[in-house]
């Protein structure tokens, strides 16, 4: 069964880029969201296997969004993709429940490597 993804980022260009890259690697992007509020609502409805999460966003930022999604589903697979390059933020995101963190700017290889690791966990959980 295909791995489903939700892409959360306030930049349309970055959402498109992650979507194109994901689909080229055989993942199915089922939703995109430009802020944390929309992302939480979409997660509740669609329950995607993976979520890519920006941190600096309007309305609800990424850290608050991670908390809300984890409250809905403690097994959510969230990959943070953010420009915030300090260790404290990375640690905080992981404490809130994110499973991975990659920094912007990222290459398609960075993204695919992170997806590959997380998708392996999803497949294991399904067994």
């Amino acid at each position: 069964m295909m791995i489903t993804i939700m892409v959360v980022d306030d930049s349309n260009v970055i959402r498109n880029r992650i979507t194109r890259s994901s689909e080229s690697k055989g993942f199915e992007v089922v939703a995109t969201a430009a802020n944390g509020v929309d992302a939480v609502q979409l997660y509740e409805i669609l329950k995607p296997d993976l979520v890519t999460m920006d941190l600096t966003m309007p309305k609800m930022d990424g850290l608050a969004c991670i908390r809300n999604i984890i409250n809905l589903d403690e097994n959510a697979n969230i990959l943070v993709i953010s420009a915030l390059a300090d260790k404290a933020t990375g640690i905080k995101a992981l404490e809130y429940g994110a499973r991975g963190f990659i920094y912007k700017p990222f290459t398609d290889e960075d993204l695919f490597e992170a997806f590959r690791e997380m998708a392996a966990e999803v497949v294991n959980e399904r067994r």
Binding site: S11, N12, V13, T56, A85
Partner: protein
């Protein structure tokens, strides 16, 4: 702001162009300008900084450069909306990467993208800004850094873990 802190922005720009465009960017020698005369190209992506450091960081570039970067990222829609989105994202990435140097109390806003230069309301009234000139594919752009240390701010220092 001390000149050594500028290095993190230089590295950020270099990394951005290498990773996104797959090419080196030529980075010129940084210089100072009065805030009354802000440097600007067609569009500027402005990030407000608060916390232990205050001020703004912005990326300014011509339309052709933004359009070229969009194409290299695989984006076929090079509308003005996407151009402005990209410019905001470049500013956000370079300012966000600077937290590796300044720490989490270098709090950054979501980007605001404007035509031309930021006005006086956005720039700190007193003082000067560092301009980091860039040249890429014969097009000129710049990162402008106008930052000041906030008074009375204490940056948390992590204690070593006892063995």
């Amino acid at each position: 702001m001390k000149e050594d802190k500028i290095q993190v922005f230089l590295e950020g720009v270099r990394k951005y162009f290498t990773q996104v465009a797959g090419e080196e960017v030529f980075i010129g020698t940084p210089y100072l300008v009065e805030n009354k005369m802000p440097a600007a190209q067609h569009y500027s992506g402005v990030i407000a900084v608060s916390g232990c450091t205050r001020g703004i960081v912005y990326f300014t570039c011509p339309q052709q450069m933004a359009r070229r970067l969009l194409v290299l990222m695989g984006e076929t829609d090079t509308s003005e909306e996407n151009i402005m989105d990209l410019i905001g994202e470049v500013a956000n990435t370079i300012a966000g990467n600077a937290r590796s140097q300044f720490g989490e109390k270098f709090e950054i806003s979501v980007p605001v993208v404007i035509r031309g230069a930021p006005d006086e309301i956005m720039l700190p009234r007193e003082g000067r800004s560092f301009v980091i000139p860039l040249e890429w594919e014969k097009l000129q752009a710049a990162i402008i850094v106008a930052l000041y240390k906030a008074t009375g701010c204490v940056q948390a220092v992590s204690k070593p873990v006892a063995q």
